[in-house]
Subunit: 295 residues, 2 copies
């Protein structure tokens, strides 16, 4: 067994005394916020952070404010010692793992909310979600004040929301997205994949291939409406029990595209259920020049 030698800090004051030292030494440092239950996707973010900054702090905080009452807060997987060992192996310098009371002390009553880009898709299905994310990410960014912060592109809309709030609130940080890491069959790595029974895992593994087919069709000028309808059929046919959304959106602000085909950088985003487990995934869709007779 590999023993983790990763230093763990529990308070904002201790975190700041570490980052203040780095700052005095003139070192750039990166923050990689996580909810733990780490997998190769997280570790790739730590490596990306490491390549871009001299020091890396990861945070581990399962944020109760981004779960609704009926969601999986209580069963969300937790293994701090295992996570710390993985982080150390990926080049992380320190883990910030605060208790909920350190993040939300008595009397806490401030919230950060982001408008337009947080409203569709995840925001429509999980109305509490981005308020919780925006507030806790603002706090983590201001607690650490890193030069850069790295988030996974699997949560594509989340990155856009975080870029928006960092820009709008003038948080002096560069937000960087790290590419989604996938299993051999294309399934996006996710802590929630642990919930999948073997038969569900097989169904889940179909989602990415279906989306890739859809993205190709869209790049070959399949009308968006047609492609979205076909994608939904294929996802249901693959065995998914419910679809929250399958949607092609502007890659920058997630607004619906104005024309029948994809004529600008776009993103294909989907959320669907296998049994009691909710999966999300997304892919870029390249812009195709509009044909003369396109509406």
């Amino acid at each position: 067994m590999i023993e983790s030698r990763l230093p763990i800090v529990r308070t904002v004051a201790d975190l700041r005394s570490v980052t203040a030292t780095w700052r005095r030494e003139g070192k750039r440092f990166a923050l990689v916020p996580t909810m733990g239950a780490l997998h190769e996707g997280h570790l790739s973010l730590v490596r990306l952070a490491r390549a871009r900054a001299g020091r890396v702090v990861a945070s581990l905080f399962v944020n109760p404010r981004q779960f609704a009452a009926h969601e999986d807060l209580d069963i969300y997987p937790r293994d701090e010692a295992g996570d710390a060992a993985l982080l150390a192996s990926a080049g992380c310098d320190i883990l910030f793992a605060p208790a909920p009371g350190e993040i939300y002390p008595p009397g806490f009553s401030t919230s950060v909310s982001v408008g337009a880009v947080s409203e569709p898709l995840e925001g429509a299905v999980r109305p509490h979600f981005f308020g919780g994310v925006a507030t806790v990410v603002t706090k983590l960014l201001l607690q650490a004040l890193p030069d850069i912060a790295v988030f996974g592109e699997k949560d594509y809309q989340q990155i856009l929301v975080i870029k928006r709030l960092a820009r709008d609130l003038d948080i002096p940080v560069e937000i960087i997205g790290g590419e989604t890491v996938r299993e051999a069959d294309g399934l996006a790595m996710s802590s929630r994949n642990a919930y999948l029974a073997p038969a569900e895992r097989a169904i889940a593994g179909r989602l990415n291939a279906i989306l890739r087919e859809g993205a190709l069709a869209l790049e070959r000028r399949r009308p968006i409406e047609t492609a979205e309808a076909e994608l939904k059929q294929h996802i249901v046919a693959a065995g998914f029990s419910k679809i929250d959304y399958v949607s092609v959106r502007d890659a920058e602000d997630l607004t619906p595209l104005p024309h029948a085909t994809v004529d600008r950088p776009a993103r294909l985003l989907a959320a669907a259920w296998v049994g009691a487990t909710r999966l999300i995934d997304n892919l870029p869709v390249m812009a195709t020049p509009r044909a003369v007779n396109d509406v």
Copy 2:
């Protein structure tokens, strides 16, 4: 005429290049946010800032987001050159005077809101107000990242809201309140006093004396309900045309006091109109030990 030699910066980038220099030199610095139309009250905040930090930046930004459509945004007094000269005379080192587009560029869509302490009093009468204040103050604090920020106690509830958001969002700054500066008759200095016609000015000057009498009565165990009713009568009798509120509250969180008399540090706060001009003022009320027969 004294010419201002105060350097003025218009962009966040220019502001940060100044504050980065101070930081490299190991200098502590203070931010004094203002909406311009400066008077002795503001200058006392600059002097207080100067006494507590090696460098002082003042900001001048008439924040459209804290005015409602029917309020006085368009006629709010503006005199940047005069303000700059006054700031220089009080020991300010630099003025940050951004255009609205620098603070709210296209696509801006994030807001900060503070719960409980922003809800009564000003928050009840001006529902848009503290949302606008919380968002712009968060931005100014993060643009400058000062060691301390100084606000006037005339806007007592505003200071509590700002302390709350700075603590809740982990903004690494100390919020300091500066005592209200008053005219000879006790009128709290305010940019809006310029709106008062001579007869209105005479009425306005009565408010503070009435509140001081009320505070004394409360400290002598006048029941809160009685004192508030008497204060309202006196304010109307003095010629005020309308009262928004006259209220005794817990000094820390502005909740109503639980007992009939003031038994903990409290604040007496009032907002009233003279003609078309709205005035606010507030005073501390010392705690008086409860008598045995108090309810």
